[in-house]
Symmetry: C2
Subunit: 135 residues, 2 copies
């Protein structure tokens, strides 16, 4: 019954999980796009979806930040906004692959988003790091 572990019999664990899924989803809405731009900026070459997913997975380790299927709509949106260019390349081993590369507009957007991210992150950290336990 300590402050960190108290349980309220009225609370429904599934409600709590639903709220947390919603929170993660809202966070991901912008951040998946940010990470995809950063990965393609860093890559120095065009990549197709599976290659991008593997780079995310490699960094995420056991964490599941975002599933591969969730990347494709974001890649399409970034292309539609002119931040990525894409081209389809035939593959010997299966269906043709769509390769994505970052455009000059994508690079400038990435620079702006990086600033927004670091400013917002530092602001939030002021409240989060001082209120909680360190784990």
């Amino acid at each position: 019954m300590g402050a960190q572990t108290e349980y309220d019999p009225e609370a429904d664990a599934s409600d709590l999980d639903a709220l947390s899924r919603k929170f993660q989803k809202e966070l991901n809405a912008g951040l998946v796009a940010l990470v995809l731009l950063a990965v393609l900026d860093q890559a120095g070459e065009d990549l197709y979806g599976y290659q991008i997913a593997k780079r995310l997975q490699h960094q995420a380790g056991e964490g599941t930040f975002v599933k591969q299927g969730a990347l494709y709509p974001v890649l399409r949106n970034l292309s539609a906004a002119g931040l990525l260019s894409s081209r389809v390349v035939p593959s010997y081993s299966g269906p043709p692959r769509r390769y994505y590369g970052i455009t000059p507009t994508g690079r400038r957007t990435l620079a702006q988003w990086r600033d927004i991210w670091s400013g917002t992150r530092d602001f939030v950290n002021q409240f989060i790091e001082t209120t909680g336990e360190r784990s």
Copy 2:
């Protein structure tokens, strides 16, 4: 014409700004709620909107993470979800004030969101800190 400052004559600065406003808005969608929960958890007493806004402003310094008017819908949503309780108190100097306090469910949600935030933040930082210039 260096890599960080190249300009594409085709790009429209207002498009770029619109994309960045959208990115900030998506980030804020979840994070404003997280920060409000953290502030009320830390406060140890109920606070009304203006007091909460002042605490955010104090931390934000010159930055404008979120405007005061944007807090009220989030406070209402958190109350509707049972994460905050609220009560109206008459004021001598103006209209009645609605005070907000964090509920036990709000505290447990905050603990989950804090974990989600730190996991997501650390994941994103891996891509952002290694790709960019250090400023």
